[in-house]
Subunit: 204 residues, 2 copies
DNA sequence: TGTACATCAGTGAACGCGCGTTCACTGATGTAC
DNA sequence: TGTACATCAGTGAACGCGCGTTCACTGATGTAC
């Protein structure tokens, strides 16, 4: 049974004690919607309810309000991206620099193929105090750890690993933001070259 | 006479033949609004009209619709930023690398102090065909020219100037986007260091 | 010089719409005795 | 085993709101004769 279809498709309600499953269904539907709209403005309570196949009021059993829904979606997407990057770094090739490069590729690939999901990652959660670190910092840490492993394996960096990670991560993000503002095929083709140059720049 | 005040302040209408002046007033009011909201969602026809001190219908004499208004605002802000960067590069210090660094500083400073204006720069204009270059490319070109001047003055780069410009610009943009998602004082204090590292990375 | 008319800058009221949120509810499934 | 009741998952209708856009208009300033 598919829930992604519009109106006519009836949803079978969850069984007793399984009400929490709807939370995941809502997030999945919102995620699907985000990939079509590629813009969080279109992510409305009513729109998500339509995409999930439920009544708008049903959202409120699982999220306090629209802001909480977007926060939940952000956490959902951050986790998806983190898993992808970690998997990309698990390659059996022993060279830690190659693995860091693979992680960078996974990051850029996610941004290129899921622009809507990517954009939401940089939202500041609404409930969090201004002092709390943005969730994207988690992603930055992944790159930092990879560079530290490369250093531990004897590769020399031109900057301390934490600073090099900031350069690599911000350049990748900036590049993808630029690509999203101007997604030409020519630009997409140059992405691998960009990644290679970026890694080469921080290596000694 | 100030137009920035709310309702009670009456606006004196422009004289015959000077109707075009309202266009600028609208863009200025929208720009002011953008710096308060730091979010383009809040930029509504009615909101801009309120900030300008005119009736919503009056916007339509100068902009076809809301999308055209946002396009006009984008062009307005791009020009402001370009002027700042060009002025920063006009320093009397002869060293072209110092001048490039100053331009980069001006760029980051604009992003840090005008987050709302900065964010709108990466909007894709609505009327433009998908093949048209995004207006931010203009800014990228400024950095490329600076690096080419440095090369012409005998400084060696680790990458061709056009590729180095992409790295420098995207890293700066990514860094500022990260800062906006997570604007801590600690992060702001490290900005000069980041800029220095970035310039050093592309130099041989 | 007067006067009829055109043009200009801008308005006020109304339209239909989709939104976030609330509230009393329904019907199925579990539990206590 | 039956039965009264509690709890669960989820609904339908309604609310008030601000939005983009349209339309016929107003009053001041210019121009033709």
């Amino acid at each position: 049974v598919s829930n992604q279809a519009a109106g006519s498709m009836a949803r079978t309600r969850n069984r007793w004690g399984e009400g929490e499953r709807l939370r995941t269904e809502i997030l999945d539907a919102a995620s699907r919607l985000l990939s079509e709209l590629d813009d969080e403005d279109g992510l409305t309570i009513r729109g998500v309810a339509r995409a999930t196949g439920i009544a708008p009021a049903s959202i409120y059993s699982h999220f306090a309000d629209r802001a909480a829904l977007l926060d939940g979606l952000l956490a959902h997407e951050i986790q998806r991206l983190r898993e992808r990057i970690e998997r990309a770094g698990d390659g059996d090739g022993a060279d830690p620099v190659d693995r860091a490069r693979e992680q960078l590729r996974a990051y850029c690939d996610f941004a290129a193929t899921h622009p809507g999901h990517y954009r939401i990652l940089f939202r500041r959660p609404s409930e969090a105090p201004p002092s709390a670190p943005s969730p994207v910092i988690e992603i930055l840490s992944l790159f930092q750890r990879s560079l530290e492993r490369a250093e531990a394996a004897g590769r020399r960096l031109r900057l301390p690993a934490d600073r090099a990670a900031v350069v690599v991560f911000t350049a990748a993000h900036g590049r993808m933001a630029l690509y999203q503002a101007n997604p030409t095929e020519r630009s997409a083709n140059k992405l691998p070259q960009f990644i290679d140059e970026l890694v080469a720049l921080v290596l000694d």
